[in-house]
Amino acid sequence: MTHPVPASHDASLAHAQSFWRTWVFSTDHKTIAKQYMFTGLALALVGGFLAYVIRMQLASPGRPVPGYGAVGPGQYNAVVTLHGTIMIFWVAMPILLAGLGNFLIPLMIGARDMAFPRLNMLSYWIFFISTVILLVSFFVPGGAAAGGWTTYPPLSDRAINSGVDLGVTLWILAVALEFAAFLMGGINFIVTAINNRAPGMRLFDMPLMVWMEVAASIIFLFSVGPLIAGAVLLLLDRTANTGFYDPARGGDPLLFQHLFWFFGHPEVYVILLPGFGAVAEILPVFARKPVFGYRMIVYSTIVTGVLSFIVWAHHQFVAGIDPRLATPFSITTILISVPIGITLFAFIATLWRGSITLQTPMLFALGMIAVFLLGGVTGIHNGVPATDIYIHDTYFVVAHFHYALIPSVFFAFFAAFYYWFPKMFGRRTNEWLGQLHFWGTFVFMNVTFFSMFLLGLMGHHRRISNPHFFEALRTPEADRLQWIATIGALGLLAAQIALIANLILSLTRGVRAERNPWRANTLEWTVESPPPHGNFATLPLVRRGPYEYSAPGRSEDYLPQDAPA
């Protein structure tokens, strides 16, 4: 066995490969990260369009939606199902977990690539195939899956129950492939962070982003298994005429709900933690202060991860579960807000007496904390059976999880995107367009979803295509709120034009970025922008933790992790 000289830092290596190997079937973690990210953003446009259809239909039921046409009740179900599915599985996970994780983990821990680069490429291409299958399911006879993103049986196990046959099978297939892709990616993340850290980097020298990505990957890996088993049973119910979920034949439809939420609730943290990680990187850089309570945040994350496995039944309080389950699951649900609260307080304490600069990444990071707090606090109402029985399946819940997911997915991703854009593409973004994007997103997000809290308390059920069907929702007040939410949604979508314009403008005409434009400490800023294939000329020797800002007695207010003292 010969040990060749590491040739990766030879910059010509990247150019020596063909177009296909460099840009399409690449094993370079940075290229794969961009592939995931742009696939996710493209799918966000699809998901956003579906949101537009939903909002237009609810504001003026029955009137054809411009650009889509009339929305019948069955079609409305498919649109809602696919909006949820796409936004969670094809937007949140690829951009936050796979996109940011792939780009940042090797760079932040000082590795040349992921532990298994070819597995990484395979993971993206399986994800790509799953994306194609999902999009194809819109156009098959019978239309796309219409059983909700939770795809409960009996809606999903017999075609006669939801009116959709092939669409549901394709949905299950697409989600299964997507899970396989993220399992491969997750194993790669975990092993890379455990085993391929640069010399000198201990576990507690890792940036919080790496901790959070790894924690999210571990949570995903352990929670998804039973659902995969459950999905196999569902598929057999559909194709092989078994009766796993059919009570008439001894099966149990509640079982699927349990399996789904055993995965589904940890999935919330799979999405949230990478967002927290990005915020934790950005706050100290723009406040020029060490992050407050680094170890406390790590421990809180671990506790959150463990607790996330024992809260799932709070999604099923009204599903007919054993009433004795309600109290323990309610207690654990309230309990999980403690470690999350600790993390948020640590973030706020990081700002205390910092010298804060409100540039675009920082604005989005602060916006994330502000909006997420409201989402988290309204979660308490859903976690207690007494109030949940009243608000369950109303727009209050819809508003709650959008207040939790939009900050953790979009705000945190945009913060990360503006922050690491110079590293990814070697150019600076336009600050003015970035600020416009932030204020548009922040204001219209609140306009849209705050009115949904009020609609939910008025009794607007979350899965009806025509609110006028109900007496209580036929009032002028309700109609006004529906329109406010719709106008907010249109504004929210319009604000994203600023992002697209910024992206195009910065990629073509942006100012060239130097290595470390934000004067940050972590290892990714010590290499060129964009980093070459193989990342580091020689592996860095890590000497300290990632957040040494404004150390007394130094001329510079930052101290990179690998700089000699």
């Binding site: 060749p4 680069p117 085993n195």
Partner: protein, 192 residues
Amino acid sequence: MQYARAAHIEHESTEVPTGRLGMWWFLASEIVIFGGLITIYVLFRWRHPEWGAESSHTINAAGGFNTLVLLTSSLTVVLAHKAVSEGKLGEAARLLGFTLLGGAVFLCVKVFEYTHEIREGFLPARSLFWSFYYTMTGLHALHVLGGMVAIACVLVAVRRGKIPHRVEYVGIYWHFVDVVWIFLFPLLYLTS
């Protein structure tokens, strides 16, 4: 290919080789998939004591023989790992061949069992017990097949003197398939 492996990993932070660590995390994901299925089955079995009568129609002798076959193939694959660590690649290849043979015998016996049961009218849709029986043994058989493909690939490579460390990794996977069967056998056959 070996070039790429050696080039991008220069430093390992723990004493466990990166490939073996990856295999363990992969097995962790398999534990929750198979374990999830077994958990669901155990709960249903608890709820339906009458499944004991159905379970008595499985062939204990065939299941027992298959357990023996898998245990023996586990022995040969771990001996192959030992042979590799002693530098005896030829012996390792021969032992891997025995493991492949064991996998093939296991699948043949399984096919014989399925044929027999289907002839007797025990189809997957007959009752929930048989649905579980075919799902669990079928998924396990797919893992046996997958393991055989992996072992065959490693066998070819070892014959050419390449990447012998992978003998250990496929071995760990093969033992996992064995462990799953150790639980499936009493769950589906013996508790009648």
